[in-house]
Amino acid sequence: MRYSAILFSLIALLSFCHPAGAQQKKITVSGTVIDAKEKKPLPGVLVRSGKPSIVLGQTDIKGNFTVKADDDAELTFNFIGFKSITRKVTGPVMNIVMAEEVNALKETVIIGYSKKTKEVSTGSSVVITAKDIQDAPVANVLELIQGKVAGLNIQNNNGTPGMAGSINIRGISNVNVSGSGFLTPTSPLFVVDGFPVDDNSNYSYGFDQASPGLSPISLIPTEDIQSIEILKDAQATSLYGSRGAYGVILITTKRGNSKVPIIKYTANFTLAQPPALRKVIGGKGERLMRIDEILQNDTNYYHALNTINSTPFLSDSLNAYYNNSTNWQAKYFRSTFNQTHNVEISGGENKFNYKVNTGYFSQKGIVENTDFTRYNLNMNTLYQPNDRFKLSAAINNQLAYNSTGGGNSLTQTGVASSGASSSLLPAPSLFTASSGLLNTLSTQNDNKTVNITANLDLDVLIFKGLRATNSFSFNYFSQGTEKLTPAALNGDFNQLYNYFDRKNTLYNRTGLAYDKSFANKHNFRLNVFGELNSTNFRADVIQQSGTPNDQILGPLGYDWSKSLGGTLNNLSDLKTASLAAAFSYNYKQIYVLDLSYRMDGSSTNGPDAGYSKNPSVGVRWNFNKEKFMQSFNWLDYSSLRFSYGKNIVPTGSVYDVYGRYVAGGNYNQDPTVNLDYGVIPNTGLTPTTTTQLNGGFDAGFLNGKFSVTMDAYYKQVDNMLRMKDIANINAFSQVSTNEMSVVNYGYELTLTARPLPTDSKLSWQLSVNAAFNKDVMVHLPDNVSQLLVVDPTTGQNILYRLGRNSLSNVLLNTKGVYSSNSAVPVDPLTGLRYRTGGLVYTYFKQGDPAWTDVNGDYVLDANDYVAVGNSQPLVTGGFTSSMQYGPFSLSINGSFTAIRDVLNNDLASRFQSFANPTAQTGLVPLEAYNYWKTSGNNATYPNPYDYTRAGKVSPFRYDQTLFQEDGSYLKINQVTFFYNFKKAMIKRWNISSARIYVTAYNVHTFSNYSGANPENVTDLGRDISGGYPTPRSYTLGLQVQF
């Protein structure tokens, strides 16, 4: 591999330059360029001529151009997204009509830091343009891509303002579970304008750490994005090697391209509504229900009376404290009104252009005391005095404030626990005991996130065909948190928590690229580059409790025992270095070959692991260009692709490799330094490696009327990091190893249709995509064939078993409910009924859940769990429809997820709230559920009212299939209706274009799921009641361009 790269570079270097062209007579040509569909002038269209083509000029804001050209020259008009038009100069006036490009193969893609057309790229990638993501103000642009790319599974499962949902390209790449049922996130690598941004580090889940938890992608305003490209297979991502194993998403921001400065103003006014809240039983109804429950089900009548009378909450109905009907959920949730404003000033032409984007985005959360506000000032400029030299620079400043109230970036447990308080309790005030609500409302949580990026790109043409490029970027990302829990909420000692972190990233890429073409048939391109990356991160915390009062929060250090703080142990200093070479060859653009090879070293690699070497190969055959295919004129294009490649993501930390020293006690009055015996160093630690095979087929028919893209892939993720317990004879207790592997394989299909004839006044574009992905566990530590991951809080354990879907739920199988006592099975030998395990056991009776006795011993215990269900969706996809009739447009898009198992823990906990009628929790009406009422009932749910069973049988435990439901859904994400103002109407205000639109976002979810929202569940498919619901929003927007 290495030698072939050297060989190709030698061949490339042996080539020569072309001689310059001869002089000719020049004339002045002027004219107008018009968009064929919208009949509007097109500004910024490049006018080129000659071979090699030279840019002569471009159209102004009214679409007019004036260029000097040879009298017999051919003028070529180029504009992104439009078919290029070449006309011979016929006279001094030329009017050009340009039509939109509908051939997907002519789309430009960026692969491995260099631009190509799709026609000659062998990888699998999808481009989303600004048009697809406009008109809905969301903080994180990825919310809007949901359902638009086959194989990109986005679940918008977190409604916290400024947070991202979960993003996976082609299935899961990590099966490690942290905390109580949260999957380790494996978001793809984001490359923003050529510079990698990591979304997987601590900020994605500000969960383990008390950081604001904002995703860096949330800091990019949607209005500033020109295009988003999703690279799926290993060939496409191969050159983003050092972190590209989870897929790569390229985000390109806008650039100026108009001689006359354009000022574009976008404003959105949004009403966000919380989803339908659950019904609760209020006031007297709740009290009577509780009393009735006790009287009906207590062990005897007198005990029941005693229970009621000794609970003033139930018996003392005249007490003003207990005589209420408080709607707790209404205290937490609110409808909010938000606005965003964005101004973009851009201008310039090829030689020099600039763009300034400044914006304000505000989103108040639908949970009280949560919000997200973003200010940004993004600037870029490009200077290209001639074809030989190009310099571009960008400075992006983003500042965000957010508050997560009393929760964190992922969950709002206060809402879950106190939102479910008894309605009998009085409305909150500092003198009532409902601290959960006050925690949400009065905890002062101010988070600040600053992101400053400076980029500098240099591009020099050394001689024809050979370009040297250097890209340098520095990023400063800093987050701060200040959280004050008032004294009244924390046992009369207020608590102040102050967090500050900073992350500096230095990135540099230097490369050489050489292009050569022989006789317009053999086209070569060789690209060699080296990449250096240095990231350091440090977080500090100060924690004070019991300051003088809630207003005076100092002085620091007044009481050393209550004044805590220091640098957190997630301090990191990561360095990576890479060297890569890529070679592309195509013959008449029919046969395409891509080869690349990349070596990556990382400071988290063990010294024994060395550099990881990642080759990739891609081939493409555009067989419609073959001679024998020429007769099929209904075929626009057709091609077959195949690729193979390897890719990595560094995992673990330097401590996993080299161990850790900790400060010890004093010895002879000298402080000592000890080894940390927690984790044994593993010097052979390697990055997670992804090996991917991809086969694809693209075709377009009938002049862009229909197009189809199909992909089949096999993706193997090896060397997944997992902490492993080791025998205690080792002195150390754990070791990090790379011993797990998962395979994902699947199929992706995208169909696009423009079913109406091109001359129809109504234009309609419809696109549907679907992806099938199946994951299989293929290797486990120590070559075992299965592993159980225990969840101590819910008991919903997870099984890793070879050959099975990698995350299986392990649950009791609920067959139904025992309709009568005689339905309970009896042990034929002992004559005893089916019972619970343990020393003190309970026999099952009517109204109890009928759980399968897997091992047939008539005892329900740990042996009776079965591995069922798959928390990962098997099928995901979406659809987009956009219609245009004159100035009116209507676009609808939706997404779907099918064949996925969701655990409805929320419903389970609602039933569980009946388990203790004297507890001050909220009760929900159960009429909607078919529960067991009396002997002989054939019910779905066990008897919720017999609270004496709760502690013994726990009929509503989380770990049973009763609460495992099908989480398939079809969601209408966005419906936008917009109107483009007629040019004549707005001209008098000097406005070149204006549009007004109405958007409904998160419109409706169709699902059989019994819970609130099958999407708003954790990555492991658990519908936890503490999740932050996703709002439905209605937006009125205006976009004006001067």
Binding site: E626, L640, Y714, V743, Q786, G831, L832, G856, V859
Partner: protein
């Protein structure tokens, strides 16, 4: 031209085929979804000594380790110590099995019997998915080897979709029947060591002659099987084997004494029709002790004691009878009779 067309179709198909074979070829190497058979799975008990004549369940004898459940177990090679086959343990015998739970509130013998039926089973079985062993009450020492014989040897096959494992040389060394408990018989030899037993508890009973408190040693309880019916008779006799009128135990709740029916109370005995075994299952009812494994009878009387105080006396016995028959339980006041009269 036609020929070219075919070639085209062929080459496109070929390319598509290569891609699909390439991808599906990878899938071929994926491991099958097979259950796990772990090496740390084991039986924690290898020698089983059930007492014949009663249903015995050996549980907590298996540690599943990292194997996937459900596992399937099979007893194989049931053999004598010398390796010869032991058909008596593999043949099917009619045994009594429960079909509905016995709860202790049944109103008649017929109601109890309706909850049991006869099925054919091998006398020594393994629970198919649990690995527990069970010996049915139908096993008798008349045809099953019992200790002091060294008994039987057998192997167990454990399997699931992940494969199978064999556990070898389990020992089955049954003990002879002991028809009632507490027993007077030696567990290994089956020979009687005593004529009778002590009662479980003697409270506040004083002798009619000496006015001294009687202890357990003064009262011998004797079990006798006198016929093949299904009755249980309680008798009280003085030192000379003269009957004492049960009515003297005036506080005794005769109708709740045992779970029996058709009580026949004379001045010599109290007799019930009962379903055997007694107690029917190991389950706490009004007629059993707290652990439910023995019937619990209390004979009680009160009298006016010295100093005009009321004295309540109790004679208690916890027992179990495993064999159907007409059983007599005799309380023999060996030295002197209890004092029933007032002081």
């Amino acid at each position: 031209m036609k020929h070219t067309y075919k070639l085209t179709a062929f080459s496109i198909l070929l390319a598509a085929l290569i891609v699909s074979v390439g991808i599906s070829g990878c899938l071929k190497n994926l491991p099958d979804d097979r259950e796990s058979i772990a090496t740390n799975t084991q039986f924690t008990q290898t020698v089983y000594s059930p007492v014949l004549g009663r249903n015995t369940l050996f549980d907590n004898n298996f540690s599943v380790g990292n194997s996937s459940q459900p596992l399937t177990f099979k007893i194989i090679n049931m053999r004598n110590r010398d390796g010869s086959a032991a058909p008596e343990l593999t043949q099917l015998f009619p045994v009594q099995v429960w079909t509905s739970p016995y709860l202790g509130d049944e109103k008649s013998i017929a109601e109890i019997e309706a909850k049991r039926k006869i099925e054919n089973h091998a006398l020594f079985e393994v629970r198919e998915h649990a690995g527990q062993f069970l010996m049915w009450a139908a096993a008798r020492s008349t045809f099953v080897k019992t200790q002091p014989d060294s008994g039987y040897v057998f192997d167990v096959e454990m399997s699931n979709s992940g494969g199978r494992r064999y556990f070898r040389d389990f020992k089955l060394m049954p003990l002879k029947e002991r028809e009632f408990e507490p027993s007077t018989l030696n567990a290994v030899t089956g020979l009687s060591q005593h004529t009778g037993l002590s009662s479980s508890d003697v409270e506040n009973i004083i002798g009619a002659k000496t006015n001294k408190f009687l202890s357990g040693d003064d009262i011998e309880v004797q079990f006798h099987k006198v016929g093949d019916g299904n009755s249980l008779k309680f008798k009280f006799v003085d030192s000379l084997y003269n009957p004492i009128d049960p009515a003297q135990f005036n506080l005794t709740k005769w109708d709740k004494l045992v779970h029996g029916f058709n009580m026949e109370k004379t001045n010599q005995y109290v007799k019930y029709t009962v379903a055997y075994p007694v107690p029917l299952i190991v389950y706490q009812t009004a007629y059993t002790n707290t652990s439910g494994d023995k019937a619990h009878v209390v004979f009680s009387y009160d009298r006016q004691a010295y100093g005009n105080i009321r004295s309540v006396s109790n004679l208690k016995l916890d027992f179990a009878i495993y064999e159907k028959g007409d059983w007599e339980i005799t309380f023999w006041f060996r030295n002197e009779s209890p004092k029933f009269i007032n002081d």
